[in-house]
């Protein structure tokens, strides 16, 4: 029933983490990142010899290396999320995301700025915590009715964020370090980039109950900590067509931070969702003032609604007015 999408995880997380800063005080690191922004080309990717199976690295090491990458924390980004049916844009959201890594975990807040009727609705994603399953927790705040902060049950982690094809799992910045078993399935070339193919399977009944897929293949760049795509299979990988597929259509580097600038998640039924980066900033010290707690969601919602979604998007593209 649910369709998790760990892969987009990495695709989206790349967007989340990568972002070139615009508003707010630029930090030296952010400035360096902006200066270094560039697009990977085929020529750059070529020339590297194909490693033999014996030379494949350990999957755990690849995962650890990826999870330990520079997230640009604390950072923010604004994306447009378009939901398409048979190629036609049916719905468009503007989402502001803030994230912060602490010693214990990584937390992200997704605040809806557009459309107006949904402005102020927001999610809090807590990952890499000591929670079960998959070490993640999701809270949702809706400004309607009782204005309660609701916790999304783990069984719904593979449901669509805002009804899109991206799921809560896809929003993660890191691969789950618990509840999944990983293996290196080989090497390949994706988007003209040499990649490691990492195969993931839910490792226990609790995770299998969450994931609608049985096997996922993530395509992790061999040159940089960025996931370029993912295929989700109902059975063994490659046995049938994937039930969902994520592709990163643009990759950029900002200093130590890599990210995708456009990602598409599509399914078998002709539905697709496209995330496009509009603006971003990272290593933003002013975000340290946010606590990234579920108690904070209501206040954050009110500030976004007070500021007006259109104003935020049209002015400097930054996060002015969002911070307390």
């Amino acid at each position: 029933m649910m369709s998790m999408g760990l892969a987009a995880v990495l695709g989206i997380s790349a967007v989340l983490t990568g972002c070139a800063s615009s508003a707010a005080r630029p930090t030296p690191a952010a400035a360096a990142g902006r200066a270094a922004a560039r697009t990977i080309s085929l020529e750059e990717a070529g020339g590297e010899p194909r490693p033999s199976a014996a030379a494949w690295p350990d999957a755990a090491a690849l995962i650890r290396q990826y999870n330990d990458r520079d997230l640009g924390s604390p950072g923010w980004r604004r994306v447009s999320l378009e939901i398409l049916t048979r190629g036609e844009v049916k719905r468009r959201f503007v989402v502001l995301t803030l994230w912060k890594r602490s010693r214990r975990d990584v937390r992200s807040v997704f605040a809806l700025e557009e459309p107006d009727a949904l402005s102020g609705a927001n999610y809090l994603l807590d990952e890499a915590g000591a929670f079960e399953p998959l070490g993640m927790r999701v809270h949702l705040f809706l400004p309607l009715g009782d204005r309660r902060v609701l916790q999304i049950a783990p069984a719904n982690f593979d449901e669509g964020l805002l009804g899109s094809d991206f799921t809560y799992l896809d929003e993660r910045l890191q691969f789950p370090s618990r509840g999944m078993s990983y293996s290196v399935a080989g090497t390949s070339v994706l988007q003209h980039e040499r990649v490691w193919v990492i195969e993931a399977r839910p490792s226990s009944a609790a995770e299998r109950a969450i994931c609608s897929w049985a096997t996922a293949r993530f395509f992790l760049s061999r040159r940089a900590p960025v996931v370029l795509g993912a295929d989700y299979y109902a059975g063994d990988a490659g046995s049938r067509r994937p039930v969902r597929r994520m592709r990163v259509e643009g990759v950029r580097q900002f200093g130590p931070v890599w990210m995708g600038s456009k990602m598409t998640m599509s399914d078998e039924s002709g539905h697709a969702s496209v995330l496009t980066l509009a603006a971003s900033g990272f290593h933003k010290r002013e975000l340290e003032t946010l606590r990234f707690s579920n108690e904070e969601l209501e206040a954050l919602s009110d500030r976004i609604r007070a500021r007006g979604a259109r104003a935020s998007a049209a002015s400097d593209g930054g996060i002015g007015g969002v911070l307390p």
Binding site: S3, G145, A153
Partner: protein, 806 residues
């Protein structure tokens, strides 16, 4: 000449010789030249007959070789079981509904029902049965696993403390004990699913699943039956229903029918022909050529990638029965010639077949027109039947002038004089039928007009209806299951309504919600509507959960105005639903929130019930229209309704066009519009009588049995064509009307009765069918042919004589 005098004065042999001489010399009424090119089709026909008689073995080998080649393509003919395939793709009447079906990813469904009428289904044992069936369906190949839904697995948005979750109604884990059963009952009765997935009185529950479009329905049905059998043995009655199951049953029955009835019809026809001719050769010859023409047609269907439909799977059986008609006329003449002539068989056969080339050409044309008229109905099965049926007749006619004379030359020589006894009897019977018409034509005509008026009055009361389940063998498990589930649950037929607000997010405007609620309330008040479900029910369900209330109670508060849901609340509720059950949401509302789907469950749906629901929708949907929205019906119920509408319109058109075309054709050939009208009258009368009989028996006209009209017009017209043209020939030889008629009747009588008897007997083999419409079709064709044969003998002479004296 009156009374028996006409018979005594008649020298049959002379009549036949006269006809043959006139026809072969081109002096008869059939003489036709294609203007501008000097080409005479009849001359070509005569040349073909000549060659066939001279080189019979070559003809036989060539026909066998082409038949073998055609047989190779027969396996490529596919069987269409999908309900939507009944109406051609792109048909304007279904264009919008197709689009709606794609938008909401609609598929055929299967329904398994668990019933315990004594104790109800809220017991651990019954719930266990439901659970096991659901699990098995999920694992069944061809079933969309995520689509399987029952009272145990129906998603329910629930607030547990501060955790919002979509748990199955039956809970996510734990044993199904008494306490769990009581909890499930409590929650199910308070849920939006009450009345849809479980009977309100708790006596039955349904497990519904969607079927992959390309799934093997026969294999699926076998699987469902096995599940039902096993679980019924375990203690609870399990029913199987749904369009996918009905299609599979119908497919199996029709295929079984084909295998069983084809030999039966061959045996029946063979028997009648042997009896009529007192010789095995006509049966062997005629059936060989018909089977070859059927194989050619099936091969051509395979070659062109055509599908055959479950409602027209009996096409070969029908073609075999129909195809015998021309052969009977030709062989009657040929045997008559053989019994009275001397000389080489080849020459006699050549001469006799040349003599009948024109009338048989005309009757073949009228049969083709009758069958082709079915293509005007706009229904795919009838279109395919009409086009390929007429092709088969064209092949059969070609064989009548090639293979049949060739085989006659090879097979008939040793017993050329046989068969006179039977034909003598038939001739006597034909004469007895006609006697009153010759002695008192006006009296007979008055009786006929009275009959027409009575039949017309009765025929106006005919009903039209069709559905998968009503076509099933009445004793089939699926038919019985469907009846039981219609009685116990909300109904097995779904009529879907797409509400298009006309603008993005329009569905979530409170005024639109109010207008749609008025619509669903009006529809749900209809006594045969079991349940109505829409996105607004889901919205209320989630809000009820957020408010910690039962769905039913919360709904009442909203309806009473105690709770107001504003635009933001509606939008955010849908956002919440999309956050916890996205896949289900896409089945209810489109991504831009412009369109939504309302599902109406109808018990024992038929055309009238569907029409009443649609009428109510039109009346109660005014609010939606005033807000700039519109309603588009789609789904199984709409296809069924549209099919019947197309059938009605098509029947009127096809019968009218066939009769008119035949009238023009006959008027030209007989060089008299009056004679053309007279020739058409018996077949029109016979069709009217059958409609009247259907109305009297309260049998609705459906897709399968409606084919009778085309067949009846196609074959029935042959009788009067032969009679009127023979009359025309004699009249052209300046014989008095009465004598011309007497001679024509004597000359054509045996052939008409043999043909009518053989075809009717052949069709009677269809009475052994498991598929009710096939039995009806057989009876209707038999009735129509008998009425047509008799009325041709009775009314044609009356009309001719009455017209003359007037």
């Amino acid at each position: 000449m009156g009374g028996d005098g006409w018979r005594r004065g008649l020298r049959r042999r002379e009549v036949i010789r006269l006809e043959a001489a006139e026809i072969s010399s081109g002096a008869g009424p059939y003489n036709m030249r294609i203007p501008g090119c000097g080409f005479e089709p009849a001359r070509l026909g005569r040349a073909i007959v000549g060659q066939s008689c001279r080189r019979p073995r070559l003809i036989l080998c060539a026909a066998a070789a082409i038949t073998a080649a055609a047989a190779l393509f027969v396996p490529r003919v596919t069987l269409q079981l999908d309900g939507r395939s009944l109406v051609p793709a792109g048909d304007p009447s279904l264009a919008e509904s197709d689009s709606a079906s794609r938008r909401f990813e609609l598929r055929d469904t299967v329904l398994l029902g668990v019933a315990d009428e004594a104790h109800g289904i809220y017991s651990p044992a019954a719930l266990g049965t439901i659970y096991r069936i659901g699990r098995e369906l999920q694992r069944t190949r061809g079933i969309v696993p995520d689509s399987v839904i029952s009272i145990l697995t129906a998603p329910r948005v629930r607030l547990s403390g501060e955790v919002i979750e979509t748990t199955p109604l039956g809970g996510s884990k734990g044993a199904l004990d008494e306490a769990a059963a009581r909890r499930i009952r409590r929650e199910a009765e308070a849920s939006v699913w009450n009345g849809m997935l479980v009977a309100r009185d708790g006596r039955a529950a349904a497990i519904a699943a969607e079927v992959e479009p390309e799934a093997d329905r026969a294999a699926l049905l076998a699987n469902f039956r096995e599940i039902a059998r096993r679980e019924t043995l375990a203690g609870h009655t399990v029913y199987v229903s749904g369009a996918a199951a009905a299609q599979a049953v119908l497919g199996n029955s029709a295929a079984r029918d084909l295998l069983r009835e084809l030999p039966l019809v061959i045996l029946a026809l063979g028997g009648v022909l042997m009896l009529a001719f007192r010789h095995p050769a006509p049966a062997i010859i005629s059936l060989s050529e018909i089977l070859m023409s059927v194989l050619w047609t099936a091969g051509l269907m395979g070659l062109t990638g055509q599908s055959i439909f479950v409602t027209t799977l009996v096409l070969p059986v029908i073609l075999v029965a129909v195809g015998v008609s021309d052969d009977v006329y030709a062989l009657c003449h040929c045997f008559e010639g053989l019994s009275h002539s001397t000389g080489p068989v080849r020459d006699i056969v050549d001469k006799e077949f040349r003599a009948v080339a024109r009338p048989i050409g005309v009757t073949a044309a009228s049969t083709i027109i009758g069958l082709l008229s079915m293509a005007l109905t706009g229904l795919e099965p009838l279109r395919v039947f009409g086009i390929f049926g007429s092709l088969a007749i064209a092949f059969s006619t070609l064989f009548t002038f090639t293979l049949v004379p060739a085989m006659t030359v090879l097979l008939v020589a040793p017993a050329r004089a046989a068969g006179r006894g039977a034909r003598g009897f038939l001739s006597g019977a034909a004469g007895a039928l006609t006697r009153p018409s010759l002695s008192g034509p006006r009296r007979v005509l008055a009786i006929g007009i009275a009959g027409v008026l009575i039949a017309a009055a009765a025929a106006f009361r005919i009903t039209v209806d069709d559905s998968w389940t009503k076509n099933l063998p009445p004793d089939s498990d699926v038919a019985r299951g469907d009846a039981s589930l219609n009685r116990l649950l909300a109904g097995t037929t779904r009529l879907e309504l797409m509400v298009d607000s006309g603008r993005p997010n329009g569905i979530l405007e409170p005024r639109m919600m109010q207008a749609a609620s008025l619509l669903t309330t009006a529809v749900s008040r209809l006594p045969f509507v079991g349940a109505v479900h829409s996105i607004y029910d889901s919205i209320l369900d989630v809000n009820a959960a957020l408010h910690g209330q039962a769905y039913g109670a919360f709904r009442e508060r909203v309806v009473a105005g105690a709770v107001h849901l504003g635009p933001a609340a509606l939008d955010q509720t849908v956002l919440l639903i999309s956050s916890v059950k996205r896949a289900a949401l896409r089945k209810e509302i489109d991504d831009d929130r412009q369109r939504t789907r309302i599902t109406v469950f109808i018990r024992s749906a038929d055309y009238n019930r569907l029409a009443e629901v649609l009428h109510t929708v039109a009346a109660a949907g005014g609010g939606i229209a005033r807000l700039g929205g519109r309603i588009v019906p789609f789904g199984d119920g709409w296809i069924s309704y549209t099919t019947v509408r197309l059938l009605v319109r098509g029947q009127v058109w096809s019968i009218g066009v066939a009769l008119l075309t035949d009238l023009v054709l006959l008027s030209l050939l007989l060089k008299s519009p009056r004679l053309g009208l007279i020739a058409i009258a018996p077949v029109a009368f016979s069709v009217l009588i059958v409609f009247a009989a259907l109305a009297a028996a309260r049998v609705p006209l459906g897709i399968a049995n409606s084919m009778f009209a085309g067949i009846a017009i196609g074959i029935g017209l042959d009788f009067s064509i032969h009679l009127t043209s023979a009359y025309r020939q004699h009249a052209a030889a300046r014989l008095p009307s009465r004598e011309s008629l007497a001679r024509a009747i004597a000359g054509t009588g045996p052939a008409i009765l043999t043909s009518a008897g053989a075809i009717a007997f052949g069709f009677s083999a269809l009475c052994a069918s498991d598929v009710l419409p096939n039995v009806q079709l057989a009876l209707m064709v038999c009735l129509s042919l008998i009425v047509c044969a008799v009325s041709t003998r009775v009314f044609v002479p009356s009309l001719v004589l009455a017209g003359r004296s007037a």
